[in-house]
Every structure is written in C-alpha cells, then in structure tokens.
Amino acid sequence: VKPHTKWLAVRVIAVQVITLVALWFLQSTYGAG
C-alpha cells in the first residue's frame, strides 16, 4: 500500500473519530441516559 493511501486512511479514521466523539458528547450531555 502506497504512503499516500495510508495517509488518506489515517485522515478517514480521524474524521470518523471526531464525528463519533461529537455524537458521544451529544448523548452524554443531553441524552436520556
């Protein structure tokens, strides 16, 4: 796998982590628990 592809993969994972953390924040702050 080329370094370019690896770098793209890392960025994809980073965007997902940020999204999931945002959703987790919504749930933990406002959710019904």
């Binding site: 796998v1 080329k2 370019h4 592809t5 793209l8 993969a9 960025r11 994809v12 994972i13 965007v15 997902q16 999204t19 999931l20 945002a22 959703l23 987790w24 919504l26 749930q27 702050t29 406002y30 959710g31 019904a32």
Partner: protein, 574 residues
C-alpha cells in the same frame, strides 16, 4: 405549493434532462457508454458514488426516522469507512487491472462462466426489483402530498432519468449525479438552517437539545450485543462492514462508478469521499429529523402526516377522527407547556426541578404517541392501506410549514436523490445485461455499434420495468428496510464469492456451489430465526460461502477459468 416552487421543480427537470442528453455526443462506443473510457476525475466519481447510495428513501425516510426514533440509525453506517478502506486496497485495484466492464465478468476470469452468470443474474433480479422501490418511494409521497396521481408521479420521476441515462450513458449518469448531489446537500443545508432559526428564542438550541434528549432521541450509541437488533454499535460495525463491502465491492451499480475513474489511485480517492462524509452526512440528516420533532413540540403537529389518509378518515369516520383530534390537541398543549418548563429548568441548572418536569413531559409525550397510534389504527382500518406515515413527516413539514422557495427546493432535492440512484442502477443493469448475457451468451462477435444500440434498448427496457415494479411496490411496507432486505438475501453470499477469489486454491466448483450454500443458509436463517437482524445475514452468507467453497475446492482439478486466466487474485496481490 406555490407556482414559484413548481417552477423550481420544473426548471430542475428540464435542466437535468438537457444536461444528461447532451453527454450522448461523446458516447459512440460501448466502452464510452458504460465506462466513459475510464477517464473521469476522482471527485466526480466520488460524488456519483454518494449520490447513487443516497436515494429519496435516505432523504425522506431517514429524516422521518430521526423525527420518530432519533439518532441511533446512524450506527447502521459505522462499518462503511472500514469497508471503504478494505476495498481500496483489495477489490479496487483488482477490478482496474482486470479491465472488466462488470464485477461478475471478473469472476469468470478467476473461476468460471457459470459463477459469472449466476452472480450477474442475482444482481439483475435483486437490483431490478429494488430500483422499482427506489422509484415508488418518492412517487408515493409526491402523489399524497402534492395531489398528483400515482402513475403520473412515477412517470415524473422515472421518465427523465430513463431518457438521460438511455442517451447519455455513464457520462450522463456521473455528471448529473454531481449536480444532483450539490442540490441534495443544498436542500438539506437549507432545511437545517431554517429549523435552527425556527427554535423559539426562549428555548434556544441547548434547551431544544435537552428536550429532544429527554425522549432518548439523542442516544446514538447502543453497545448491547444482540443478533436481533439492527441499530446497535456492533451490528453496525460488523454487520454493516459486510453489507457495505458487498454493496460497494460487488454490486455493479457501485462498482461501475469507480471503474470509470482514470486510475487506481483516483478510484481509491473517489471511495474515500464516502468514507469521509457518509457518517457525518447521515448524522446531519437524522439531526434534521430530530429538529423537526423539536419544531412540533412548540407548533401543533398534524394527527396524521399522510394528508391523503387524513382526508379519507375525516370523510368516512368524521366523529371518531374529531374525538381523536380533541385528545391530541389537549395532549399537545400539556406536552408543550412541559417542554417549555423543562428547557427553562435545564438552562437555569435546576436539576431537581428538571427531573420532575422531565417525568411530566414524558407522560405528555406518551399520551400524544398513544393518540397517534389510535389514529394510525383508524387510518389503516378506514383506508385499507398501510397507515405508517414515517416517510410523510418531512414532506408534510416542508410543504405546510416552510416559506416559499424551500418547498420547491426540497421537492427538487427529493427528485434529484431519486434520479441519481435510478440512473446509476439502470446504467448498471444495462451493462450486466449486455456484457454478461447478450454479448457473452447470445450474440458474441457483433460490432461495437450493434452492442451500443442494444445497450440503449436495454437501458430503456430496465427503465420501463422499474416503473412497472414501482406501481406495485406501494404495499411493501417500510421503504428503507425493503430495499436493504432485498439485497441482504444475496449480498453476503456474493461477497463470499469475491472473498473466495483471494483464496489461492479456490476453484470454480467451490465458488458456484458455495454460493448456493450461502444463499440457502441465509434463507434458512430468515425462515427459522426470523428475529435475526438482516445485517447479520451478510456476515452469515459470506462466511458460509467461503467455508463451503474452500472445502469443495480441496483436491478439485483446476477449471477452465483458472487455466485461462490463472489466479488473478494471486497476481493482484503480488
């Protein structure tokens, strides 16, 4: 809708047909018609991949799901980025190096002709049916909300897509997809802004989220492990990965998108657009639904969102409906007051008071839901049709509550979402028909011009077939799940065949009979264990095909496909 809104819709329809048909100039060869001579840029292909997946069902059904059920549906997509990463390093380079028109053509190079024929036939069967559902979903809603006759709505959605796909081929599909995706995002963005601005000042965004959260609509993550639950973290991550691997890796409607890319790297980059944006986009779509729920906490919601059903019930069971409406109005007022008190208590930081009001608010919400359940039951009894109205929530909201231009933009976006999926599917159905059957089995050795003519006829045939199916698909229930269920019967098993291609000793006999074993097992599971979520069918199908296929391949002699092409899997891996 006002005439200005109709003008927006009409302008969209005229533009999209003109834009698609003008692409026919460059498509005078079959490779141009189906693969754009493998010349398209990654961003156009990537947007086309996303537009193909985002049908009108996503736009209307998922927002409705956000309004009634909240954010947890987003878990369904948790496997998508993983699937894209896997495909980028496995099947994408595979298909590009093999220079194939269809994913199934590759299976003949690797295994044998019968495996190709069977997988392609399964694709034609399942996609041919599901494209009908993709036409009918927005047609049902448009006929009920805009007062159009159902066949007219089907024609309005189906005909333009058929025309530009038939004449313009994949160039038309891709470039209209790009513009349609822009329109869809624009429509969603406008809706989000209007909803955020519509939150009452004394409630605020924080208060609105608190109230929505109290009903559980902001509970995204469910970490319980259950084979029977579709919307859990683990079902989405594991089952979803297999579903997305199948859809993006083995379904011709998606494979054909990235086969048009200029190079392997551009094809990879195109898939990464979905990997980046699918979950955030889906979260935004669901959040729009949640905000519509919030909107209706403070403005009276309709008792039935399907206005056609509401009119029929009012005409035929007027007194019963009026009594329900009275109960509904009372429950709404009680819930509204509790919601305002709750938002105020939360923003004041008074936790004890907030907890007490939460109970009051939830009781009001339960009462409102109970009246709705009775009204839906009455609608079902009176109309004799499925009364579920999740798919009508957003259209009813947009058409009755939002100012001029937004309804037109929204309807155009729904049409764009439908057409972008329909066109890709028609294009791929035509490709599989001509390449895997007509040219391979019935009329090999004809001229390129001949195949091009047949391809256009095949596109037109599938378009007419899809519209025909659409006319009968209304009774199929929840439109979101119908499409996914259709696919899950075959999807996992077909994925298993492609995984088997990576097993060096796998043979055609193993792939062919393994495929039957996989489909048989999934059928048995859905019959004897109907509670198992369809997401897990993909895992079961793939695992059974690989296991049985590998076993049957042990000590099997090499077949013609193997001798002709060698192990393409090994070559690609090398």
């Amino acid at each position: 809708m006002s005439w200005i809104d109709w003008l927006i819709v009409f302008a969209y329809l005229v533009y999209v047909v003109w834009d698609g048909v003008r692409r026919s100039k460059g498509t005078d060869e079959i490779e141009g018609y189906f693969l754009a001579h493998r010349s398209l840029p990654w961003w156009a292909v990537g947007l086309s991949v996303m537009a193909t997946q985002m049908s009108a069902i996503t736009l209307v059904g998922t927002t409705g799901q956000g309004a009634t059920d909240g954010m947890r549906f987003v878990q369904f997509y948790f496997g998508l980025p993983i699937a894209m990463l896997i495909l980028a390093v496995t099947l994408v380079p595979f298909f590009h190096k093999a220079r194939v028109f269809t994913a199934y053509e590759y299976l003949e190079k690797r295994f044998d002709g019968r495996t190709r024929t069977l997988t392609s036939a399964l694709f034609l069967l399942s996609r041919g049916m599901s494209v009908g559902v993709i036409v009918s979903a927005p047609a049902v809603i448009m006929s009920a909300t805009l007062g159009l006759s159902f066949p007219l709505a089907v024609a309005l959605i189906g005909a333009p897509a058929v025309v530009y796909t038939m004449f313009g081929g994949v160039q038309a599909v891709t470039w209209t997809d790009v513009k349609q995706m822009v329109l869809i995002i624009g429509g969603l963005g406008a809706l989000l802004v209007v909803l955020l601005l519509g939150i009452p000042d004394d409630v605020g965004i924080g208060g609105a989220l608190s109230v929505a959260g109290a009903t559980g609509r902001l509970d995204t993550f469910d970490f319980s492990f259950s084979l029977n639950e579709t919307y859990t973290f683990w079902s989405g991550l594991i089952g979803g990965t297999f579903l997305m691997l199948s859809y993006f890796g083995t379904d011709q409607s998606q494979v054909q998108r990235y086969l048009t890319a200029r190079s392997i790297d551009e094809a990879r980059s195109s898939l990464f657009i979905s990997a980046y944006w699918k979950i955030p986009l889906q979260a935004m779509v669901l959040m729009i639904g949640v905000l519509v729920f919030v909107y209706y906490l403070f403005s009276a919601p309709p008792l039935l969102y399907n206005l056609e059903h509401a009119a029929t019930v009012q005409a035929e069971a007027g007194s019963e409906y009026a009594a329900l409406q009275q109960r509904y109005d009372d429950a709404f007022q009680a819930r509204r007051e509790a919601a305002i008190d709750l938002a105020t208590a939360r923003s004041a930081g008074d936790r004890a008071l907030a907890e007490r009001i939460t109970a009051e608010f939830l009781a009001g919400n339960d009462e409102l839901e109970a009246v709705r359940t009775d009204a839906l039951e009455l609608a079902g009894r009176t109309t004799g049709e499925n009364p579920r109205d999740i798919n009508y929530i957003i259209p009813a909201f947009v058409l009755s509550e939002l100012p001029i231009i937004i309804p037109g933009l929204f309807i155009a976006a729904v049409l764009a979402a439908a057409m972008s999926s329909i066109s890709s599917e028609l294009n791929s159905l035509s490709t599989a028909t001509v390449i895997d059957f007509y040219r391979r089995r019935f009329r090999p050795g004809e001229s390129d011009a001949h195949y091009l003519r047949v391809s256009k006829v095949a596109t037109g045939f599938w378009g007419v077939f899809a519209c025909g199916v659409a006319l009968y698909a209304v009774a199929l229930g929840s439109l979101i799940e119908v499409v996914n269920r259709f696919g899950s019967f075959f999807y996992g098993s077909i994925l298993g065949v492609f995984i088997l291609a990576f097993v060096p000793f796998a043979r055609g006999r193993g792939s062919f009979f393994g495929l039957f074993a996989g489909m048989g097992t999934v059928a048995a599971v859905s019959f004897f264990a109907p509670d198992v979520s369809f997401l897990w069918h993909n895992v079961i199908g793939a695992v059974v095909v690989v296991s049985v296929g590998a076993l049957l391949s042990l000590n099997a002699p090499p077949d013609d496909g193997d001798r002709a092409a060698g192990s393409a899997a090994e070559r690609a891996a090398a």
